[in-house]
Amino acid sequence: MDKTINLTLKIWRQNGPKEKGRFETYQVSDISTDSSFLEMMDILNEQLVNENKEPIAFDHDCREGICGMCSLFINGRPHGPDEEITTCQLHMRKFKDGETITIEPWRAAAFPIIKDLIVDRQAFDKIIASGGYVSVNTGGVPDANAIPIAKPAADEAMDAASCIGCGACVAACKNSSAMLFVSAKVSQLALLPQGKVEAKRRAKAMVATMDELGFGGCTNTGACEVECPKSISIAHISRLNREFLRSRLSE
């Protein structure tokens, strides 16, 4: 159980958005294989602080795979070498003693680097702001059970709604496309009667914003689905395409 490993870390460091970045190499030793990847990063940072150096900045918060904040590109894969998990759920038992681990930030024109491994993902908020909601105000809504919703539709909507907005789909896609993220929201709301009303308008507005913000287009490579920690299906992308085409063809 209590195995420990030594590692070489090749990490992207960049002081600020406009500065030039570079890779730096660090050594960490006696890392318990029971620790999480981010705990390993904590240990490295503690080491750096003790050497009076600036620790490595990386995003994280809940550390249980739900907030979508953690976002490291580890050994060539967003969220690293394990399936259906976020960076914070990755554990060191997935690595071998003596291994070199390369850690990079998400790379996309729409996600500029803020510092080291932290990128700015506000583009996602802007996309949601442009239409990713049901237009109801607080109060004055019908009883929750007034509209029955078929269980399969509700379940599929929930599948789509599990998206944590981490951006791994964009990071994994060779086109830096945000289609999986956008489709998850469009699909969730299109599947529910409450959201259906505005489905076309929503698809149109969200796609327009997505395009404006500099994400690439979808070429159906499917990398997003493989790397998505919540296994959001690209079938949702087809639904988004459908809603979008419907909206545009009905004009």
Partner: protein, 645 residues
């Protein structure tokens, strides 16, 4: 005591909220645009409040330390949200939800607040469904409910194991709609670092931009704090890494009362601590207790053998297992409230029956799997089992889970009256940040309910009662001396922190504080320990202020500086928690004083002496805080000894 007027409306309990709404002052639409409201926090409470106030036409400024409002800590809530809908027709009602919450809180909450909470609970579900929250449904297409945390009715609505996420995304989407319309301005990666008081009223805040390091001044006719709980005082907790108590401490320093700081909830089902490097504790949803049975070996030598790796849990025969909750509490069994279950686990481990590192008990699904089949268990808890396996590398379908209690929620917080206003006019507090509705112990699935109740249905009303008198107050120039002074003091504080240039990292000091808290202000407290804790906290505080090392400077992003600033505030809270715990010479809910227990080891309240809310008042750095009391008047419910046997 005029400073502590709880402003509970007149009339019978069930009519109070209606009466209040019927008579409160409102702001007319044309004036709303002229009023600025600052909402700090974008969790369930803050997000819902900001969205609702924006919809009403107020000019809202919303702040969060995360990079997106969607990432507030509320996102992590798993189990569900309560409401008195009575859809399953099992006898639930507003009164019953009210009563259960009061009783669950061990009779230390305000009746009127809790009743209002139960009243608006149903509207929350309606609202969320209208927003497109995909709650679990039955085949007939109607909403599904489950029973949670030992309630005798099924009143918990849920969205798989991600209820908090779905509710927060609903609020977030409503909020982003307002951002799009321009009624809410969003400030992400921005931290409140001080509150500005002008002529006795809250008029604004000072913030630090976490990306540029810049300090900014913001004016508001009112300020709402919805900044969550302070569980991270313990370093290890189920809270997100960024959860902090800083806003509460800023309010405290400006004169707001801090209520019941010692009341912290320890959740019984978390993955146990397994190493020094550990950064946080992961909650395993309470719903697991519906089908899992908790046990430890009945023989000490078996427990010892397991700890040494000589025996496996599956080697222990049925008759050699001690299902201690079922043994002690036959009526509720594994479903007793959190405080009771946590203490029972500690009792067994302290007695030498713990497994794993010695601080763990088993949560076993074997009999449920035999009874219901693996498929059913997988459908119910698949994601939790997967999460457990990823962390611990053990398969809970085959070997029992190991769990241990961990700090989870803080019932205490900023004191507010019925209107959610603190004793500083214009300063409001909502969600986990305030103290109001859970008394000494919060029931499962009630925090989400309270956060959304405050944000959607309470604050948008009550804040108008205050703002109606502010329509003639023009927007203030933030160059006013109060703002300038506040900003200067913040700047000085950051410089002071950076200039300590000591030898210890922030985390190493925080871990030290956490251990003290866990040992002396944790699950079981006593006079001697609490006195010692106060001294030890003082020493850590000194160590911090003389020996912390923060690399980098105040310009640009500096994560260590953020953490240091928050730790400085946790140190204040730690002190308050210990003091409050020492003062409260009784056991109630999450606060267990070893001196006050029944012969069977159950919590023993002292209603004649402590049926009050402890409200701590700041009196300067050198002075000890002063205790004020808000007496709790129970007109409808009789205070009883809780009994789960």
């Amino acid at each position: 005591m005029s400073i502590l007027n709880s402003k509970i409306p007149e009339g019978p309990l069930a009519q109070k909220w209606t009466n209040y709404k019927n008579h409160q002052k409102l702001v007319n639409p044309a004036n709303k645009r002229k009023l600025d409201v600052i909402v700090v926090g974008t969790g369930l409470a803050g997000g819902a409040a900001a969205a609702s106030l924006g919809e009403m036409g107020f000019n809202v400024k919303n702040f969060t330390i995360q990079d997106s409002p969607r990432r507030a800590h509320s996102i992590a809530a798993q189990g569900g949200i309560n409401a008195a809908k009575n859809y399953p027709n099992d006898g639930d009602s507003v009164y019953r939800l009210f009563y259960d919450t009061i009783k669950g809180g061990d009779y230390r909450a305000r009746e009127a607040n809790v009743h209002r909470l139960a009243e608006v609970s149903n509207s929350i579900i309606d609202q969320c469904v209208a927003q497109g929250v995909p709650f679990a449904r039955e085949y007939g297409g109607l909403l599904d409910n489950r029973s949670f945390g030992g309630a005798q009715v099924s009143r918990t609505f849920y969205a798989r194991g991600q209820t908090g996420q779905q509710l927060l995304l609903g609020a977030y989407q409503a909020l982003m709609r307002q951002v799009n319309k321009g009624s809410v301005t969003m400030h992400t990666r921005t931290e409140l670092v001080d509150i500005v008081i002008v002529d006795g009223k809250a008029r604004g805040i000072i913030t630090r931009d976490l990306v540029t390091g810049e300090l900014q001044r913001h004016f508001g006719h009112a300020v709402v704090l919805a900044t969550g709980g302070y569980g991270n005082t313990f370093f290890l907790s189920t809270n997100a890494m960024g959860s902090n108590g800083s806003a509460a401490v800023k309010a405290f320093h400006k004169g707001a009362m801090f209520a019941n700081p010692c009341m912290a909830q320890i959740h019984p089902t978390c993955i146990p601590v397994h190493g020094e490097f550990q950064s946080k504790l992961t909650l395993m949803s309470e719903s697991l207790r519906n089908d899992g049975r908790i046990w430890v070996p009945a023989k000490k030598e078996d427990a010892q053998a397991i700890r040494e790796g000589k025996l496996k849990p599956t080697d222990i025969k049925e008759e050699d297992r001690d299902y201690y909750l079922e043994r002690r509490y036959p009526a509720f069994g594994n479903l007793v409230p959190r405080d009771v279950a946590s203490r029972a686990a500690k009792e067994r481990c302290d007695a030498g029956f713990g497994v794993g590192t010695g601080l763990a008990v088993y949560l076993d699904f074997k009999s449920s799997i035999e009874r219901l089949g693996k498929d059913v268990i997988e459908a119910r808890y698949g994601n939790l089992f997967q999460m457990y396996e990823k962390i611990v590398d053990d398969n809970p379908y085959e070997t029992p889970m190991m769990i241990y209690p961990a700090i989870h929620y803080t019932m205490g917080g900023i004191w507010v009256d019925y209107e959610l206003q603190t004793n500083i006019p214009g300063l409001f507090a909502a969600g986990e940040a305030n103290f109001s509705d859970h008394g000494a112990n919060r029931l499962g699935a009630s925090a989400l309910m309270q956060g959304l109740a405050d944000g959607y249905f309470v604050l948008p009303y009550t804040i108008q009662n205050y703002l109606a008198d502010e329509i003639r107050t023009p927007r203030m120039d933030t160059n006013a001396k109060e703002f300038v002074e506040a900003e200067k003091s913040v700047k000085d504080r950051f410089e002071k922190l950076l200039n300590i240039k000591g030898n210890r990292s922030v985390d190493s000091i925080h871990k030290e504080l956490g251990l003290i808290m866990w040992d002396f202000v944790g699950m079981a407290r006593n006079e001697k320990g609490l006195k010692e804790a106060i001294k030890k906290i003082e020493a850590v505080k000194k160590e911090f202020w003389t020996n912390v090392r923060i690399p980098g400077n105040k310009e640009g992003m500096n994560v260590e500086l953020e953490k240091a600033s928050r730790l400085a505030d946790f140190l204040e809270i730690a002190d308050l928690m210990a003091r409050d715990g020492l003062n409260r010479e009784e056991s109630c809910g999450g606060h267990f004083r070893e001196e006050y227990q029944t012969g069977e080891g159950e919590a023993l309240r002292q209603d004649d002496k402590f049926a009050y809310v402890s409200c701590w008042e700041y009196r300067g750095e050198k002075e000890e805080p002063k205790l004020n009391k808000e007496e709790l008047v129970y007109e409808n419910v009789q205070m009883l000894q809780r009994n789960y046997k």
